[in-house]
Amino acid sequence: MGNLIEYYFNPEIFRESLWLLIKTLPIVFEVLVMGLVLSYAWGLLLALMRLSRVGVVNKVAGAYIDFFRGLPLLLLFIFIYYGLAIAGIKLSAIASGVLGLTLCYGAYSAEIFRAGIQAIPKGQMEAARSLGMTGSQAMLNVILPQAIKLVIPPLTNEFIAMIKDTSLMSVIAVPELLFTAKEKMGVTANPTPLTVAAIIYVVFTIPLIRVAARLETRRRKPRPPDRPATAGDISPEAEAQLHSADIAGQMPKGGYG
């Protein structure tokens, strides 16, 4: 028991690492905020391309999404940082990290956005068009506001996965949590820094997991029995679609908190 504390919860190393690791958080946040904004924007664009009636646009987006969904993110990070350098394209570790997240998570979130857009009943688009709106006016004013509300829970799950995947950037020397913890472990010959890193990860992820679960249960609030089903209701098929699009996260199937 004494050894266990000595190995994994060494008080002195714990204190030292805690401070050291907290100092990496601004970089982690920077990468995450950029990754979040860029990957969701890219994902939305990809989703719209995927739904385009122009065959080429649609196929290109489809191929992109399939490719990056199938690719290990770790490989992508290494390719961007080390692989591209050989061709003379030298990106900083952080830029490589953000690019990798955007390319990969863009593909994940594209599927979520697509499922969200397709979950909106056809009558909404028809009503908007019948009022004289163009396709893009209808998308912007009618479809997207509803679709985005629908995809917030799966996108939150996506974000949780993204937080965890920042640790993969340790292989391209982004001074984030895992990278710094591993270095400290090397110096101290003690795994306590990993314990600290683990704690910091879950301090951020667990509240988000709870938030996602709550958003999810609220969205699926059953229709009151006195209100008849209307065309505005999301169909069970669309629900299933949304679920299957949630690749990176693990959407709670039942009720959570």
């Binding site: 009558g123 068009r129 019948s130 009022l131 004289g132 004013n141 008849p228 209307t230 505005g232």
Partner: protein, 247 residues
């Protein structure tokens, strides 16, 4: 002016197929100003499809659709512009659930016509009063009954100040006790001189409000005439059979 002779809607030999299935097999129809044309027929007869072809929600394979003389599918026509002049109300209401009643009515004039917000708000308020829902301006669609939703949908279509209105079985999804409130609004609209094409099963409405009755079957117009006369005295055997079932 010869105003009453103006063709608001003209369908010339319109053919429409969904894949192999031909739903409209050559429909000719002329609707003049202030006419209330009521369209009846069994489901699958093509009446809803015909309505959706009038404002170009469905592309057609053959024929012409003229709206106030303008070819809807003409090379220089912007169908979005034409749709602004054609209001449409749907069986399933299709209100925008993320907007309240007032915002539903305001959206198209704001976003499409780019009118100033103050003006649009006034128009929307007046329209909600007209359909008897002034006190529901802040209510969201899921807080409204079907009849109320449908009246908001009518107000929403009217907000674009259309020259004509299309009604696609607008009372079919309503509980029986809510049908009257919607039909009343439609009747007021007809009395105010709106040009209307109404697909419905409400024979009472056809008789009271309709200026012309059209019976469709198998993708063509089988018979048309004065509603009061045609309901009592249909000429075509298919019309007789249908009316025998619904009356």
């Amino acid at each position: 002016m010869g105003e009453t002779l103006t063709a608001m809607i003209e369908l010339i030999d319109v053919h429409k197929s969904f894949g192999q299935l031909e739903v409209l097999k050559g429909v000719d129809l002329t609707v003049t100003k202030k006419e209330v044309v009521v369209v009846i027929g069994v489901s699958g007869s093509g009446k809803s499809t015909m309505l959706r072809c009038i404002n170009g929600l469905e592309p057609i394979q053959k024929g012409k659709v003229l709206i106030e003389g303008e070819d809807l599918h003409g090379p220089h026509t912007d169908p979005n512009k034409i749709r602004q002049r054609i209001g449409m109300v749907f069986q399933s209401f299709n209100l925008f659930p993320h907007k309240n009643a007032l915002q539903n009515v305001m959206m198209a004039p704001l976003k499409v016509q780019k009118k100033p917000k103050k003006e649009v708000e006034q128009i929307a308020h007046d329209l909600l009063i007209k359909v008897g829902l002034a006190e529901k301006a802040d209510a969201y669609p899921d807080e409204l009954s079907g009849g109320q939703q449908q009246r908001v949908a009518i107000a929403r279509a009217l907000a674009m100040q259309p020259d004509m209105m299309l009604f696609d079985e607008v009372t079919s999804a309503l509980d029986p006790e809510l049908v009257a409130e919607v039909l009343t609004v439609m009747q007021l609209l007809a009395e105010a001189g709106m040009t209307m094409v109404v697909v419905t099963h409400e024979m009472g409405f056809a008789r009271e409000v309709g200026s012309r009755l059209i019976f469709m079957d198998g993708g063509v117009i089988v018979e048309e005439g004065d509603p009061r006369e045609m309901i009592v005295n249909p000429k075509e055997p298919r019309t007789q059979k249908f009316l025998g079932m619904v009356l």
